[in-house]
Symmetry: C2
């Protein structure tokens, strides 16, 4: 068993890096705060006897030797970056529970057959640089390292520059390190486990995701002198489109979602009719064909609104991640570990994207979920209990032992 109270203390110890007054964390990837938590993580891993290295995209790997070093390591972990108004658990739990697994094995003097590898993936959140989970995608071969290094944040800074600024552009080539299997512990970020009173989600896969960059182009004009029917108001175009996206998602049933998370009026002024709005859109569904259908309907809505309001609405898809099924054997190992511990559980599909979803394209992978309060995540009030975190760490430990021996 893992030491749940040490895990809980560690979670609260690292929450100071980017901690917010409302009790959340603002630790955007590759920010100074992210640099500080990475330094802390490296030191903690080294103190636990692990060998730490960094790849060319900043991902940190901490290796614990096994009896048979010719075997590829069993890997686990998650991410230490957060949303701008993120919580203390999203990603953090998976990394620090992984550290707790290493510490517990040390305390118990257990040596596994395969080596163990704890990973802190760069930019899981996708808030500063799109897409989300970019380092694990590069690891799995979905992007080249150079493609990722060239991505820019809204300030124009590239991933390469941001890595250099905090000193985390490592020497290891991305994707070259062998991994035998990958297991990620995470809070559910949704309401299902809590509603059903289950402690463990045995995650069978992740839903599909499509991300878009969009813009609405109208014409700036005087708020006092331009009659309503003459206006080409970009914000009203965005408003209609946002409501259309909501209707389209609702029409595709309970699992489909669509979100406009960012919207910025260009050169805004109180007495100017908005001439241009840039926005982002996120759509998801567990079914690939629903993702495609939603995109078609969104494009049709954009066309109709644009023509009627004399606006040009552009929707560019910048990322699409197909629904991911996890490896049945690793899923079974998670299930068996939870059963062995006598924990209540259910099979579940992840609504969020995770590094494990990218890893699954290259190595056997699966995930463990624990409940979070009211299903709330990407919010400073995100919350989980010490008991649930400990249970998750126990399942992680037992799954790892099954896979590594």
């Amino acid at each position: 068993r893992a030491d749940g109270s040490r895990l809980w203390a560690t979670i609260h110890e690292t929450a100071r890096f980017g901690g917010t007054p409302k009790g959340g964390i603002n630790r955007l990837t590759l920010s100074a705060e992210d640099g500080r938590v990475r330094d802390w993580f490296r030191d903690a891993c080294e103190a636990a006897g692990l060998t730490v290295s960094v790849d060319a995209l900043g991902t940190q790997y901490a290796l614990r030797a096994g009896k048979d070093m010719s075997l590829p390591p069993i890997a686990f972990g998650s991410h230490l970056d957060t949303q701008p108004t993120g919580g203390k658990f999203d990603g953090v739990l998976g990394v620090l529970a992984g550290l707790e697994v290493m510490r517990s094995l040390n305390d118990a003097g257990i040596e596994t057959r395969a080596p163990l590898l704890l990973v802190n993936w760069t930019n899981e959140e996708g808030s500063r640089f799109a897409p989300a989970m970019m380092a694990s995608a590069a690891y799995a071969g979905e992007f080249t390292t150079d493609e990722i290094l060239a991505k820019r944040d809204v300030a124009g800074t590239t991933v390469a520059e941001a890595l250099d600024t905090i000193g985390y552009r490592g020497g290891e080539a991305v994707g070259e390190r062998a991994i035998g299997a990958f297991v990620e512990l995470h809070i559910e970020q949704g309401p299902i486990l809590e509603a059903e009173g289950k402690t463990i989600g045995v995650v069978e896969g992740g839903q599909g995701i499509a991300w878009f960059d969009g813009s609405v182009e109208g014409f700036e004009s005087h708020a006092g002198t331009t009659p309503m029917p003459r206006r080409r108001d970009a914000l009203l175009g965005l408003s209609e489109f946002a409501l259309a996206a909501e209707r389209i998602a609702l029409a595709h049933g309970p699992s489909a979602v669509a979100t406009i998370g960012e919207a910025t009026i260009q050169a805004p002024s109180r007495n100017v009719v908005p001439g241009r709005v840039a926005f982002t859109m996120d759509t998801r569904d567990p079914r690939s064909e629903t993702l495609t259908a939603m995109e078609e309907e969104l494009r049709a809505a954009a066309r109709e609104i644009g023509e009627r309001r004399r606006l040009s609405i552009v929707l560019e898809r910048i990322w699409r991640k197909e629904p991911v099924p996890f490896d049945p054997k690793v899923v079974a190992a998670v299930d068996a570990a939870a059963e062995g511990l006598g924990l209540s559980r259910r099979r579940i599909i992840s609504g969020a994207g995770h590094d494990a979803c990218n890893l699954a394209a290259k190595v056997p992978a699966a995930m463990i979920f624990v409940p979070c309060k009211d299903g709330v995540s990407h919010n400073e009030s995100e919350s989980s209990t010490e008991g649930d975190c400990a249970a998750g760490a126990d399942v992680l430990l037992q799954t790892i032992l099954r896979l590594a021996n």
Copy 2:
């Protein structure tokens, strides 16, 4: 007659201060660029033999002596600040045509009975600091100087700090200087004169204006895991409210307008359901009772949307300017001047707010409009012709001569 080609050259000479690649001007009030055009204006006035002084809110006054210095001066002018994507004529025409009036009188060796006063009012646009036309409102006694000095822009800078930064906090007490009458030449900023083929608008008054600061408060949550019906999406609340405002304005007939010019999501992120949006709203109508009715309907819409979507929508009125009738004698002087010059003309109500609307509370005031292309203003493509600007300057000169002799 004024020298139309000299006026045209002067307009283009000053357009370099804050000039944009698209041919417009970005010269927010009290910015460095505004400081530069003020220096230019002071030098040009002094070169024309005028005595320049600055009041405690930065408004510049350039005096030309008259035969009877016991008479209060006949004043004219407008403003040299612009919107962030402003044009070359809004405000600028009124100030530089005033300079041209002074230069033409000098060239013709004409001395008027009353002295003449050319004014460049601080912050007419209201884009950086709200409300618009704040210096002329303080002149007219609607605000105290201290109230205005304490207003802040979005960066938190006060008017007092901004004045000090460019060295334009003058010594003269605001509102103490006597003015006999005020005449403002301006582009129409609307489509009426052009549509009817008229050169001069004889402005009878300005419509009412109400400005609001608003916010929509929902709850940040994960874009991938929060089912649509559980969301409390602040952007969707704003979207519905923006469309409701459009419907309400349309329902109040052709003159009513409502505009959301600024809208900012707090801590935006692609994969976070927006939790809070701040916005501004501008409503106008020539009828005071319509302004009131629109506000009531907007508040009802905000309540209904907020309740249905579990959002808190707040609407704070930060400014209300009643419809303003201009002085019949000054209006008649404008009309007679245009008639004397043989220019086509019509009576008109101003859709935009102007410093003359504030002055009207304290001194006899009126305005002269000239057409602008497609009625477009608050846009870098704002455009007027050399001939129309010259005609406006001629009417201004003739009106001034009528009032000052």
